[in-house]
């Protein structure tokens, strides 16, 4: 079984600081990590290889420094990795990103499964996984929380949707996007870290994946960001302090009154 894992390097956005003046992200000291939701995709791929044998190839589109994300994927257990990096790839929206990734996947060929995280924590769109499937004319199962009964031709998946879960059987090759419930991602071992450090990671540009540069990066992106601004949130908050018995009592009375006035209790 040959699995391709498209992953993304993202800024560690858990505690992003914003420049109040410019409304832009403070990038100094912000670490780049593998998109946390991609770790679940990596873990699923590793488990499927343990059960069925085969190989796992991690790919990512990004600047040369995105190689670090690929090394982390290899340290978790992926067999090899390919960096997709080209000046013409910069500024890509989800359409142009899906295009480059699908061209690279075509170039690799012979795959049974393409497994993606549900979405990246920076862009938060979740559009690239289904987009790759569309470019490659493959079926796609999204929000997958379990995979079983794998044969040469098909597998069964469980999809976590709004009001329950669905079971599907889907032909291979297919694209899967997975949710957190799939499995707990493992930590890299010392041995796999060493292997990852030594691994040579090829870098493919537009020509290597037969990409039309009119369709890559900003040039190939149908969408344009026209404005960025700080979200405005404000209501008139009636704020009272509740620190001792008297004020706590008064605050509780106010709360109950607030509800009663609005017929909420």
């Amino acid at each position: 079984m040959k699995i391709i894992l498209p992953i993304k390097q993202v800024p560690e956005t858990g505690n992003v600081r914003m420049d109040e003046q410019t409304g832009t992200m403070v990038r100094d000291g912000v670490e780049s990590i593998v998109n946390p939701l991609d770790l679940y995709a990596i873990e699923l791929a590793l488990r499927l290889r343990e059960q069925n044998g085969g190989e796992i190839i991690a790919i990512t589109m990004g600047p040369p420094s995105a190689e670090k994300a690929l090394r982390e994927a290899v340290a978790m257990g992926c067999d090899s990795a390919i960096l997709l990096s080209d000046k013409s790839f910069a500024g890509a929206d989800t359409w142009a990103t899906g295009y480059v990734l699908s061209q690279a996947i075509r170039n690799i060929g012979g795959y049974d499964m393409i497994i993606c995280g549900e979405r990246a924590t920076d862009g938060d769109t979740g559009q690239v996984g289904p987009g790759i499937a569309s470019f490659l004319d493959l079926p796609v199962m999204t929000y997958v929380c379990a995979v079983d009964e794998i044969s040469d031709k098909s597998c069964r998946v469980k999809r976590l949707i709004e009001d329950g879960n669905e079971k599907w059987e889907v032909n291979l090759p297919t694209v899967l996007t997975v949710v957190k419930e799939i499995a707990v991602p493992r930590l890299p071992t010392l041995r796999s870290k060493q292997k990852s450090r030594a691994l040579k990671i090829p870098a493919w540009g537009a020509a290597d994946v037969n990409a039309d540069v009119n369709l890559t990066g900003l040039a190939g992106s149908p969408t344009r960001v026209v404005k960025i601004f700080r979200p405005q949130v404000s209501r008139k908050c009636e704020k009272i302090s509740a620190t001792d018995e008297t004020t706590i009592n008064a605050a509780a009375d106010l709360f109950v009154e607030f509800l009663a006035k609005r017929e909420l209790v």
Partner: protein
Amino acid sequence: MHKNDDYKGVWILAEQSAGRVLRVSYELLTRGRELADKRKTDLTAIIFGAAFDDCDLQQLIECGADSIIAVEAKQLEHFDVEPYSACMLKLIAEKKPEIIIAAATTTGRTLMPYVAIKADTGLTADCTVLDIEPQTGNLLQTRPAIGGNIMATIKTPNHRPQMATVRPRSTKPAERKADRTGQITRINASSDTLTTRAKFLGFNPDESEHGLQDADIIVAAGRGVKKATGVETVKTLCEKLDGALGASRDVVDRGWLSYPHQIGLSGKTVSPKLYVACGISGAIQHLAGMQTSENIVAINTDPDAQIFRVADLGIVGNIFEVLPVICEKLDALKRGEK
């Protein structure tokens, strides 16, 4: 590139489950009607399924659609990306809409990107505000970015249709006007659009996940609960108010409550009549999931907590001291005492 002027009309993608139109479809009608009026054009609701009742389709008209296109086939009973996208692409090629809005549900977030790629056009996910640029008529799509720390406004200037998904519950469903009329077109999906490589095997409803998004009252726990057992204090208030229990991401990440309780950018978006935030600091990611609630009460020890910026009533205090007193007062109220 597409010739923009050839594309006319606003579409919304209505959704069904077991043949019945889902609530989110009416929320989309609210959005769609606004855009269609600004563009002085028609609003069409498209819907895919096995078979529909006349009265369900009529209700979409009464809630703001000028016309309905219902594509019917047994293979469309459950959302399957291949036949759904084939049917939708065929409609797009025939009718050339300028705007398509869908819900950011598991269905919308799968179908829309699949279609956008093949339709060779842009798609913006999870929009919170949609508007029309007066000079150009372009759709302005505003969405949170970088974990909700900034808002970005995005355009699709040279491609049509302009496609966007919007978060469920981020707007109110359209109200019914019984005298509205419109045209309902039913289409039997042609066999060339129904091929698929997937087979539906079954559905298991999950009762435990119900409630949060339909609740009138939500009481949510934040990091201020300090430990797993601290959640109980919040739960007690929640039960007294007959509400649903929510949580910030911190609480879920620590395993004190399960993921279905999570409210915010990476969880659910809610818009109840009352939202009580207990020990929640109000990270922008959390605010993105609850700030459209009608009434917001926040209880937090930190007077500068961000949560107070979106609250109507703010109590600066310790939830372990304040909530029990509130519970006593609610009990007294129920017993008819003052």
